[in-house]
Subunit: 281 residues, 4 copies
């Protein structure tokens, strides 16, 4: 039996960058993490230990910082596209570049001036929490694919959600309810109908749509809410051609107060991390 | 040699609770985690396997949910005090109760109504991020100690911070700078000069003071900023008698662009998690 | 524009199970985590909020425990296959079942008996660390796919590894070396040439091969070592038809002692988590 | 009100080191993480922004690597003592040094030679899992305190453990049992009756004692097991003067199979992380 090297790839992950744009006294900051993954003519690196076509992952890391220096980084999508193109252009042995970028969010600190007015500080920031912006860019010699996304957008509604009339079998123990807590950590990834998109503004509209549908809809199932969110985004954001949503159901279980002769009118819940329902479309 | 049982304690940790207050259609939610630790006459539990004085940790957990049901939980401090008192009153073998509570923050989702006005939704929430409120209550038969706190308040300033003129020895390699990125995840714990405090309002003032001093001050060292924050809080919040601050220095290292013939005017940094400086007072 | 529901799936993740096999006084234990993901005729669940074809994720969870009760669980692969078949057989609306299982490893505690002989204890265990066994089973109405795997197998060699003669460009700063620390957390996933395989014994042979090649080979690159490991497994384990290996390069950077007039003969390293090289084939 | 600076300290945390001892072809490796915390005359650093007495945390980090270079690091205790003494001796403004060290464990990879004999490889290692050795050294101008420890030693017994006859009240719902799964992640910290101790050998004996008592004893409560372990260590290891043990009760809850007409003879359990009982003495 002869071993055949099929698909292979390599790259550098978790390259962390902070770029401070000081072109005005009102600093802009972008903090993000880059993963790079290359495919190409790397067969002899594997089979012969011949590294002559191997771009070291350390050089990939250096390149990220060097490109970041002169790039405006208006959006992580635009930065990722230019970074991917750089690798393809300057390395003829590479056939495909995948760049993933995840942006941490920072908000300006609000301060009171002497007159009591509140304003945003020029160069001081407070964390925007766990929620992240994501971008994935895949470039080959012929094609460019761009996905934008939101990750770890954690939301909860304390009523306006039920789950009833589902399929039952001998292992069913779940009780039907028309009033439960519904909490999920939304992950959304979308692609675009055209080029030259304003990535920042599309992101803002997608996020707004997720929050509004989640808040307003009386949910009959996670699936239904997920579908309605997706439908609404495709209606409202004409730049978006496709969207995939992942909404793990983070269970809040009603605590059994009845065993102590007390009533629990959907007021006291046990938050749980495991197991969780995972709904995707 | 005879083994002597010195200090011992036991309890339940990581009891997670969501309380939904439905007294009005505008729901209020509190999500928090409780740790309970008891000391008392538990010698024979250890030395003889005699469990008659042992309140099971499972019962402690149940008690948290049962007490939460009828408690307004205006603040985690008030809830913790009442919970601690319950254990002390109903278990004569207990001499000391320590309750730690950590509250996750949720903000109301903002939605547009038909007229385009923005308003807070009644029962839908988005995560307030990693930052948490904390409370520690220690009660004995004679005394009550209450600490409030903030945890994981992550902040960053992109200028207005330096570190110069420090002690140098043969292992010094750090370069002096009057312009660096300063980022820290603040932990603050304070105690009170009096009883009957408005815990919510003190928390708000402490948080505001931290952000304002951090933003406005030109920092000569983490220590100086930490001290000035503490001093300002003691001046502004008269309810606070003592405050301890922990500010790990989360390093953002300038990337060496000079090796590629480029300049780095404090624009391109490598965020790092390890190692970090830890400053406390 | 009409929204079209394309691929959708749902399931339960992170279902944790401990099975104690008490058929002899020498207990056997298996601790594992199950993820279940279903595809099928769920369109109206999404588009109409009609749950009649929706098997609740809570029922999936119950089913895992119920099936585990009477199953020998000799291997996680055999358990996963039977679990997947159960879902397909008892739910005609389901077209595809994916089961992922991850097993934590426990070793027997060794104790000395009175005569000083060391032996394995009947029912007491110590954790086998982070390393895990994995299995992935995908079943449709026509086909069965089975993958076995190893995850988080963390290894390190303190010499016998170099990286030289690689591609250089204007952003190269890495120094060539014929002696470096090589550490990686191996992930391996393999599929089978035939049915009725002894999964436990194949796993043992694959693991042995990874460790031996890693230890013996003088590595010219991570890619070369990865390839040689894969090649060796395909030669030695005839049951394995295909194997994919992921070996993130966990960097140990030589500390610059030269700046203090000292020599570092590859003795003092800084372990780092970020960034890391990721090599796959 | 005048702000008074009370206790303050600062230092560097999470300094990661790998030392490869190459004094023979059979390499020895030590991987560990160091936290350093200093107290002393740092008032003006805080109150005046005067850094002249401030030893930068970056220099502390450099010092760890420099001292590690020429130190045999036979044990982390010996290394920590010498490191602490260095800081005290070379910085007169320092009054107290606290060093915490945590060692990751690596085992040699076993390989077969041509004759089929199994032997330990010279320079290749596999992770020893999550368990860690710990050391804490506190040195002032007059005194030296040394603690050794074990952390994250995860153990489980599938029978031989019960919990009965405990205190009951109106919130009791736990069922008495004479057969349950008992799992805990042991943390042990001990101090010494004398100087010039063989730290490695004491660690080995403490670990052995924990495992043996845990395995052999029929446990009536976590407290009883913890006490008997502590008692046994004080009897067997005469170098140990005091030991504190922390044993969080990692609950494995019997799954309710009875609801489906099946029996659960302590065979099927749900492992849970939260909440957990925490027992200390």
């Amino acid at each position: 039996m002869t071993a055949i090297l099929s698909k292979n790839s390599y790259g550098k992950s978790a390259i962390r960058v902070l770029k401070v744009n000081k072109s005005s006294p009102i600093h802009k900051i972008k903090e993000f993490t880059v993963n790079i993954c290359l495919e190409g003519d790397f067969e002899t690196v594997h089979t012969k230990g011949d590294n002559r076509k191997c771009l070291p992952t350390d050089t990939m890391k250096n390149t990220v910082y060097a490109i970041a220096k002169d790039h405006s980084i208006n959006s992580i999508e635009e930065f990722g596209i230019d970074l991917a193109k750089y690798f393809l252009t300057s390395n003829e042995q590479i056939s495909k570049v995948k760049i993933e970028i995840e942006e941490k969010l920072w908000n300006r600190i609000m301060i009171n001036d002497e007159s009591g007015e509140t304003s945003e500080h020029d160069h001081s920031f407070v964390s925007g929490g766990n929620e992240k912006k994501t971008a994935e860019i895949i470039i080959t010699r012929n094609e460019v694919f761009i996905n934008s996304g939101i990750k770890d957008l954690l939301i909860l509604k304390s009523t306006g959600s039920g789950f009833e009339n589902y399929f039952k079998d001998k292992y069913t123990s779940l009780k039907e309810t028309n009033d439960r807590v519904f909490s999920t950590s939304v992950k959304a990834v979308w692609s675009f109908a055209s080029r030259d998109v304003d990535y920042i503004s599309v992101h803002k509209n997608v996020r707004k749509s997720i929050l509004e549908i989640f808040a307003r809809q009386h949910s009959l199932s996670v699936q239904q809410t997920l579908y309605d969110i997706g439908k609404n985004i495709l209606e409202i954001c004409e730049e978006v051609s496709e969207i995939s949503l992942t909404m793990p159901n983070k269970h809040y279980l009603p605590f059994n107060l009845e065993q102590f002769g007390m009533e629990n009118n959907n007021e006291i819940f046990i938050p749980t991390d495991e197991p969780f329902g995972l709904i995707e479309a």
